[in-house]
Amino acid sequence: MNTQDIKYSAPIGDEIAYTTCYMCACRCGIKVHLKNGQLRFIEGNRHHPVNRGVLCAKGSAGIMNVLSPARLRAPLKRVGPRGAGEFVEISWDEALQTATSRLAAIRADDPNRLAFYTGRDQSQSLTGHFARMFGTINFASHGGFCSVNMAAAGLYSLGGSFWEFGEPDWDHAKLFLLFGVAEDHDSNPIKIGLAKLKKRQAKIISINPIRTGYSAIADEFVAITPGTDGLFVLALIHCLLKSGSIDTEFLVRYTNAHHLVVNEPGKSTHGLFARDAAGQPMAYDRSACRTVPGHRIGIDPALVGEYILEDGTHVRPAFSILASRYLAPEYSPESVEARCGVAASDIRRIAAEISEIAFNQTVRLETPWIDTAGRRHEYMIGRPVAIHAMRGISAHSNGFHSCRAIHVLQMLLGAVDTPGSWRYKSPYPKPIPGGIAPAKSERNLDGSLTSPVLGFPTGPDDLLVDAAGEPLRLDRAFSWEAPLGIHGLMHMAIAEAYHAAPEKIDTLFLYMANMSWNSAMNPAEVMRMLTEHDGEGNYRIPYVIYADAFFSETVAYADLVLPDTTYLERYDAISLLDRPIGSAHGPADALRVPVLTPDRDVRPFQDVLIDIAGRLRLPQFTDGSGNTLYTSYADYIINHERAPGIGPLAGFRGPDGTAVGKAPPNPEQLRRYIENHGFWQHHLRETESYYKFANKTYLCGAVDMGLIDRADAIVLALYDETLQRFRLAAEGHGVQQPPERLRARLQKFMDPLPIWYKPLEEELNENEFPLHAITQRPMAMYHSWGSQNVWLRQILSENRLYIHRTLAAVHDLVDDDWVALSSPNGRLKCQVRVMDGVNSNTVWTWNSIGKRSGAWTLELDAPEAKRGFLLNHLISEYLQEDATGTKLSNSDPVTGQAAWFDLRVRLEKCTPEESDEIYPTFVPLKSPFKTKHPSILRHFSEREKK
C-alpha cells in the first residue's frame, strides 16, 4: 500500500485580501490569497452579492493577467513615425508635464479640441466629470459601440434597461426568453440564475442565430436570422393581441397606454399627447364619458376608440394606435416567418406558451404593498415570463426599435418588475427619460460646462447642432443623425477627427480602448488615419495620448503612453454614479483595492487623471487658489461630492460611518469597505421589491438614499412621445429643423411605436452579399485581454469561421478549408468549421481572438496572429455614400449605436494556391520594451525554490 506523505491542511497562503475582479465587466467579489507577498489563489467571495462565491474562467486566471509579459512598464514618448512602435521611456514628471502643457493650451483656446474617449473602464463618473470640468463636449465612453440601443430603448421606455442593469426574477420565472449573445456581461449572475431555472425546470428559449454558450442549455433554440428579432417580437405581439392575451389592468395603471394622442395629421401637435391646462396627458373615462387627467385614479380609461376634445381636436388612446398597427396582417407569423427564419407555427406556439405562463400560471406573492396613489394591495401578482437581451439586439441599426419592441411586449404582458418577470436592478428605475439634456458648449466662468456632457434629449431643442443642423460634436452624437446618442459614438471619433482635421481636434485622449484593432470598425483604415500627414509634415490627428495597462495594438499609435496598473494594483469605485453592483434586491456598490504594489513604473489611470486635473487647475479638482483637492483617486472616492452628500460610494457615509446613500463623507469609508470585504449593500424589504415604478415605499426610500430626486410614479412609456417630437420637426414643424437630406430618414425612424426595418447595410447590398456575419463572445475571454493570459489562450488561441452544414455543402467545404469573405468594405481569408447549430444564412466567429502580429508580446508564430482573424476588417464606420454624396454613420439612426452585426458578406472557397494564410496581415508590431519569454512556465515552482 502506498504511504504517501500528504500535507492535507496546508494554509492556502499567509494573507487574504478582498477586492473586486476586473477580468471582465462583471464586477464579482474576489478573495485573493497571497503567499510571501505573491499571488497564490483567487476565488469568488462567497458573501458577495454579484457572484456569491463562484468565479468564472477569466476571474480564475487573474494571476496570469497580473503577471502578463505584455504589461507596460513606464511612460513612453514616441520617437519614430507614428505606428512604428519606436518609443523611449520617460519619467512620470515629463509625461505629466507634456500632457498638461498640451491640454492647457487646448483649454485656453477651445476646450472642444480635446476629444476624450474611454473604453471599458468603470470610472466613467470620474472621466465624465473631468471632461465637464475641462469644458469639452467631445467626451464619451464606449457605450456608443456597445450598449446604447439597449440603454436608450430601456431608459426611454421603462426607466431601466437590459444589459447588466436589470435581471430576470430567477426565483419565480417559469419561462425565460434569452435574445442573442449575452455571455460577456453579468456573466456569473446569469449562470447562477440559469441553474436556478434549470432546477425548477422553467423553460428557457434562446432566440439567437447561434447555439453556443447559454443557448447550448436552452430547452428550445430558435435560430433566428440576424436583425429580425424585432419583427419576431412584433409577430408575438400580433398573436397575443389577437387572442386577447394582454394585461389591460397593468397597462392602464402603470403605462401610458390610455393617454390620448392627438390625431390631426399635418398639425404640429399630431402624435403628441393631448394635455390639459396643467400640462398633464389626458385619458377618456368610459364611465364618466369625458376626458380626465390620465394619471387620475379610479377612472375607467378607454384603450380604444376615437374621441373629440372640447376644442375639436381628434384624439385616440395610444393603445389603439398600437393595436391597429400590430394586428395588421403584415405582423402575422405567416408574414414574417421567411424573413425571420422561424416557422409561423413556432412563433404561434411560443406566443401561446408566453400566454399560458403569463395568464394561467400566474405567480402570486402574499406580500402587501402600497402604490404611489397610496392604495394598499394585499398581494403581488406576477406574470412569470422573464426576458433578457443584449448585444444580439443592440448591435444592429434597428436595435433601438427591436429593444423597444421587447419592452412593449413586456408591458403588454404586465411583465415588468413583477414577480417572475424581468426586474430593475438598483439604482433603477429612474424617471423617464433619465436626466437632464446634454451639455451644449455653454460654460461657466471657470471654463467648465454648465451641465454634464452626456444627457437625455427630449426634443429637437436639446440637440447639439449648428445653424445648418450639422453636428457640433466630433462623433455626431445628439445630432439629427443620432438624436438619442446618449452614450456618444466612439466608433466615429477617429474617422471624424481625421476627416475634419485639424480644425476640430488637436488631441485625442484614449483610455483602455483598443481603437486600432478589435474595437475599431475597419482597423486598417483607422491605422491609416492615425498615421497620415496633412502634407506639411503634421499628422492629420495632431496628437494622441493613450492610457492602457498592456501593450495592446493601439499603443503603437500614441504619441504619449501613460501606463496603467493591473486590477490588483489599484483603487476603483464600483459606483452608483456609474456601473454599480446593485440588484433587484437593493442598491450595492463596491471597492477595488490594491492587493499588490506595482513592480513597474506605472500608475493607476484615475490617479493620473486627477493629477492632470490638478495641474490644469480644473474647477472641482482644485480650490479657488489652485490647490489640488484630491491627492489620489482613493482620496477622491472618499471626499468627492457630486451633489451634497452624494459621493462615489454610498455605503458607510457620515461622520460615524452609519449613514447610507446621501450623507457627508466619512474619512474612514474605505477602511469600512475593506472590513466589509470590499462591498456595501442595502437590502430592500419584500414590500418594496416589486412594482418599483409605482411602489411608494420603494420610491420614497430611493429618494431618501439619493437614487432619484422625486418619488412620483414612473409612467412606463408604451408610446414614446419623445421620438414623435423629432418626427414632427422632420415634417417641418418647429424652429429646429434637420438638414434636408435627413428629413425622410427621421420621419421613418423616429416612430413613437416600435417599427421593424431591414438593417441599413442590408437594405443597401443584400443581393450582392447574401450572408449575415456576426460574432459571439467566448465565455473564457474578455475582448482582447485574454490572449496575453497563458491559461486562457490555451482554451482559445485561434478562431474559425463557423458555417452551417448546408452552406458548407453548397460551397463544397469541410473543416479547415480556406475561404474568402468579402463585404463592401473589404476582403479577408480564414478557415472554416462546419456545424449545425447556426442559422443557415449566417456565418460567425469568436470576437477579438485574432491579434495583430507582435502585439501583446506574443511571439510571431502565435496562432492568434497566424490563424486568428477579426471580422472588423469587413466593417466600416460609414455606410456607402448616398445620392447627396454624404456618408451616414453605420449606426442605429435613433441612438448612433454601432451596427456591428449588420455586416453582410459573400463567401467563396479559396483555390489551393490561396489556401495558405490569413488575410489581411500587417507588419508585426515592435514591443516598446524587451521581453524574454520562458520556454516553460513553471508557475509556483521557481517561487518555492527561492
Partner: protein
C-alpha cells in the same frame, strides 16, 4: 503491477456529479482547477511555450463541446467537462509497474505518488477517459486529486472543503460528495436524475457520474392561435377591452 485496495467497499466513495443539463461550457472549472493545482499537491503544472505558437500545459480538467441530435432533446450542444473519474476498477492503477498510481482504501480517490512514478505512461494508455496528464518537464504523470488538499483541509472554512471545480462552477453543474451515503446530495441527484456511467461497457466502474440533458416543456391549455380568430365585436381582444378597467 499495482493492486487495488483489499476492501472492495471503501468507507467512503468520494466523487463528482456533473450535470450536463446545466453546464454552459464556460471553462470556469478547468481554469480554477488549474489555478488551485498549479500551487497544490501536484505543483507546478507547467505550461510549455506559454506565449508562443503551441501553448500547451498540464490541466486536470478540460471541457469539450459537442453537437448532437436525439429524439427527446432535438438538436443540442452539449458541453462535457472531462477529468479523472476515480474508477472503482481503475486500469490506470493495476497497470502501474511501481505502485505510484494507487486507489485509496478510505475514500476511493485515485492518486499518483510522483516520488515513485517513473513516467512510463502505461497508466495514460490504460485510461480510456484521457484523464491523465503527463508533466514532460518533471517526467512524471499527474492527475486530478479531487483536490485532496482542499477537501480535508482544516485550514479552510468547512464550506470551502470541496474541489475547486465545484466551488467555482457558476452554473452549479458540479456536485461533490460520498456516493456510499445514500442521503448525500450526489446520491440523491444520481437517483433522481438517472445518471450515466461513461463507457460503462468497459467495466472500469467510474465513480463520477454525469446527469443527462433534459428538456423543459410547457403544456398549453388554451390559446386561440389562428389568423382566422374572430374579428369585430366578438374578437377576444375586443371582449377583453370591453371589460371595466380601474386605474
Amino acid at each position: 503491477m499495482t493492486s487495488l485496495p483489499h476492501t472492495r467497499t471503501p468507507k467512503k466513495k468520494l466523487g463528482l456529479v456533473i450535470d450536463l443539463d446545466t453546464c454552459v461550457g464556460c471553462h470556469a472549472c478547468a481554469v480554477n482547477c488549474k489555478e488551485w493545482n498549479a500551487g497544490g499537491f501536484h505543483a507546478p503544472l507547467p505550461d510549455h511555450d506559454p506565449y508562443g505558437g503551441t501553448p500547451d500545459g498540464v490541466w486536470f480538467n478540460r471541457v469539450h463541446s459537442y453537437e448532437l441530435e436525439s429524439k427527446d432533446l432535438g438538436c443540442r450542444t452539449v458541453n462535457f467537462p472531462r477529468s479523472c473519474l476515480h474508477c472503482d476498477n481503475p486500469a490506470c492503477v493495476t497497470v502501474c509497474p511501481t505502485g505510484a498510481s494507487y486507489k485509496r482504501a478510505d475514500d476511493g480517490i485515485v492518486l499518483i505518488n510522483t516520488d515513485i512514478c517513473i513516467g512510463c505512461k502505461l497508466c495514460s494508455w490504460a485510461c480510456p477517459y484521457g484523464a491523465r496528464e503527463f508533466d514532460e518537464d518533471a517526467g512524471v504523470m499527474k492527475k486530478c486529486t479531487l483536490c485532496i488538499d482542499r477537501i480535508y483541509n482544516e485550514a479552510l472554512p468547512e464550506e470551502d472543503r470541496v474541489p475547486a471545480c465545484v466551488a467555482t462552477c457558476p452554473s452549479h453543474a458540479r456536485h461533490f460528495g460520498d456516493f456510499n451515503d445514500p442521503e448525500s446530495q450526489v446520491s440523491v441527484l444520481v437517483s433522481e436524475r438517472g445518471s450515466m456511467d461513461l463507457m460503462e461497457e468497459l467495466g472500469y466502474r467510474p465513480v463520477n457520474k454525469y446527469l443527462p440533458p433534459q428538456r423543459a416543456r410547457i403544456e398549453i391549455n388554451s390559446f386561440e392561435t389562428t389568423e382566422s380568430t374572430a374579428e369585430g365585436a366578438c374578437s377576444p381582444l375586443l371582449k377583453l377591452l370591453d371589460r371595466l378597467l380601474s386605474r
